[in-house]
């Protein structure tokens, strides 16, 4: 399988911390990325929907005090696998980059 879209990886990473819902996913990604990325919610949620279609994430029960209009999602086993594989791939990539002196002498 080829690399997954960076935004999809971001979504999976947010969900490794536990179930979440749309607005919170966007806020967490914005916190993590800062100014590096402008988030477009409709397009982000298209990705979330794609992840649901692929079975990497699934809908789950909301906490009791949650706003009933929110849909909560969580990682599935397959989603965990994909995220882990992608993380390994990126780690190897960074090691290779470091070996090529791309990261300076640190």
């Amino acid at each position: 399988m080829g690399p997954i879209h960076p935004l999809e990886f971001r979504i999976l990473m947010v969900l490794t911390a536990g179930p979440s819902y749309g607005t919170e996913i966007v806020r967490r990604i914005e916190e993590a990325e800062g100014d590096r990325m402008t988030l477009y919610p409709a397009n982000l949620f298209r990705r979330v929907r794609d992840l649901l279609d692929r079975g990497w994430i699934e809908e789950c029960a909301a906490p009791e005090d949650a706003d009933p209009r929110r849909t909560y999602v969580r990682l599935t086993e397959a989603g965990h696998e994909v995220a882990r594989a992608e993380a390994r791939r990126l780690r190897d990539l960074v090691r290779e980059a470091a070996a090529n002196q791309l990261l300076g002498n640190a």
């Binding site: 749309g22 607005t23 477009y40 919610p41 298209r46 929907r49």
Partner: protein
Amino acid sequence: MRGYRALLLLLPRTIRGPFGHDMEELLRGRLERAPGRWSRGRIWIRACTDVLAAALVERWKRLTGWIYKGRRGGMDRWTQDLGQAVRTLARTPMLTAMVVGTLALGIGTATATFSVVSAVLLKPLPYDEPERLVAVWPEQNFNTAMVRDLQEAAPALETVSGISGWALTLTGEGEPLQIEGAKVSPGHFRTLGVRPALGRDFTLEEGVPGADAVAILSHELWVRAFGADPDVVGRTVELASNDHPRRTVIGVMSPDFRPVRGDPDVWIPLALAAGTPVEDDETWHVNDRVARLAPGATLEQATEQVRAFARGIQARMDQTIQASRVETAAVTPLRTQKAGAVGPVMWVALGAVSLVLLIACANVANLLLARGEARQGDLAVRAALGAGRARVTRMLLVETGLAGLAGGMAGILLSFGLVRLVVRLAPPAFPRLDEIGVDGLVLGYALAATALASLGAGLVPALRASRVDATATLGGAGRSTSGRRRSRLTTSLVGAEIALAVVVVVGSGLMLRSLHRMTSEDPGLDGAGVLVLQPSPPEGRYPDGEAFHQYYAQVLERVRAVPGVETASAIHLLPGTTNNWSFPTFIEGQEVGPGRVIPSINFRVVWPGYFETVGMSLLGGRTLTETDGADALPAVVVNQAFADRFWPGQDAVGKELRVLSTEGDPHQVVGVVNDVRQQGLGIEPRPEMYFTHAQMTWNMSFWVVARMRGGDEPLARTADVREAVWAVDADVPITGVEELSSVVDRSAATTRFLATVLGAFGALALLLASIGVFGVTAYGVGRRSAEFGVRIALGASRVEVLGSALRGSLAAVVAGLVVGLAVASLSSGALSSALYEIEPSDPVTFAGVAALLLVVAAAAALVPGWRASRVDPVTVLNSE
């Protein structure tokens, strides 16, 4: 936010369902954090583009998935076609921009117009079961007892509620406020099926004098004057009108509540002592009635019952109710009643804008035909390589569809802007103005328009271009025959465009001529340079008419002393407003007796110097002066319409009339003044009387009118005049400060707005049609440049070549013109309700439009035609 929510409807349910709420929440959060207007604007644009882009991708996937469903390798093919389409569109950016831009203009304008139509005419009123709500006998003034009796006389009406405009003042809550209120039957809100958001509704017991000192506040007033304090319910506040100085607040309406009439801030009950007969009830100010049809009752049944009631009451009170009004007594759906005269015009506007959209489609079709022509070689290669006709057609349709979708999305964005513009330009009296906006229905319309426009503009060119004879084209012989075929098609498209444009431009021409007629109508006074303002003393501040008289006398004295003020006076109802006060009047020479109707004549109470201040002219006798005091003989000035109607051919000065009854001293006519269009520029003047306050000393508020010395900007003196008024009494609220000319002008506001809208459509139609003419001529010239080169080489004059280049397109223009004028003459009657003193078949408009279109079309054709006559034979022949 409502627009954004509507926009979300474009997204597929799989996204909107689980995350729609999150998207609204995110946008709201971002808008709240935004530091200024500009960044809020940027956030809005970004959010809308985001949704549109996501919707475009999703819908496109679904559409192509559907087209290719069940075919082997379908997905691959569609990716191929899509890629191909994007590349082709990107290769000809100018053409693509023209196509997308033209469609965006057409779809955007149509969508914005539809959103107005939808709000004014289609959307149900925001009440419970709104289809059962009706307006009752709108032409007739009722009194409270009539409302009560009608309820009993008409079982087809479940409840009837009267509405009457009522002015109040609020003091003791900061600055004194002049408040627009409404007196309504206690069952008013139950008739509408709404309840106050806070507190309670009126009870039936509160419809009795004495128990009626209660009020329900609008949400807006509650916030503005009471700081949204929930404890205001139950409090007694100084909300005064002529019946009670104080009232207990019992409820607050919700911010979403839309009043039936006007925009009142307070509702108070219409009260009537039990058992009062209609004849003894003096509350003849119940101008509007709203009723709820009983379940299963029809409009016809209700109308019949209302008419029977009207006949009965007219027979008893033939001096108050005109017999002619009885036969027109009817109930109409409240929605139709609210749309008023604007309703039919909006349908015309929607028709006009649909024609504009058609013109846009014809233009796009022409552009695509031209491109199809240019790509014949390319397509022939594909055909030779084995692409079937269906495949080529599909490829071309995918291209048009993509461009169409982009045009549609851009059009929707455009319509957001246009809707805001419309709401800003519309006169405040425009029906249901605050409900205009882009919603699901409007978006549905936009999408349908997009789909039809893309298909309409794309299908013929795609079919035509795909009909490629590979051998002939590649052999070089195909060009001339298919070219001629296309040329015929293009020319007829341009003819059709012209015909459509004629229809639209005739419509806008008629509206503009009406507007011109209306605004050039002599209002009967000169309002420029006259400042008006209304000091309204709060209830109880001045106990009686005499005190009011003293107050206004001092105010006028002070205002006259303000530097820059030339003259100042006062009147109780401003000209150019629809308010009326009238007296049953007994006129010298008019017989009185059984079966004779006593005419009810409008009157205004003025102060000395009024006619001079507003620039009216005296046609005979004298004006009202200080000498017409309380002890002098009662004097009256009448207008020309009065004199002409009741004393035709006689001198009115010196005649006598009596008001209200045949008893007492008569008023002597001391002067005749010119007619003033009191009810608005478009309305014929009626007979009128002017009395002076010194002789009709009621406690009433006046509008102060002050003429500034030559050329002084009146509003610049506002502060000084205000000071002068407050120097007499600082606790009197002052409202309605403006120039008299704008008050008079406002009465033409709705006509002006409709004329502006239709005028814009006309201009757009003209622009698009001239682009079409330009295109077809340019195309013809390009195709025939070799021919022109040869003819010039053989000695043809440049003028002959020019004529030959223009002939084709001008023939199409003339044919289009003839057809268009014929269609316009058949359809312009639809506008008649909005026209003022202009016939729908007005020959000047028709001739003017024909001339205008000929000139514009000729100019559009002349530019490329001129190029034809400048062809250099050497260059052209060398390139052949």
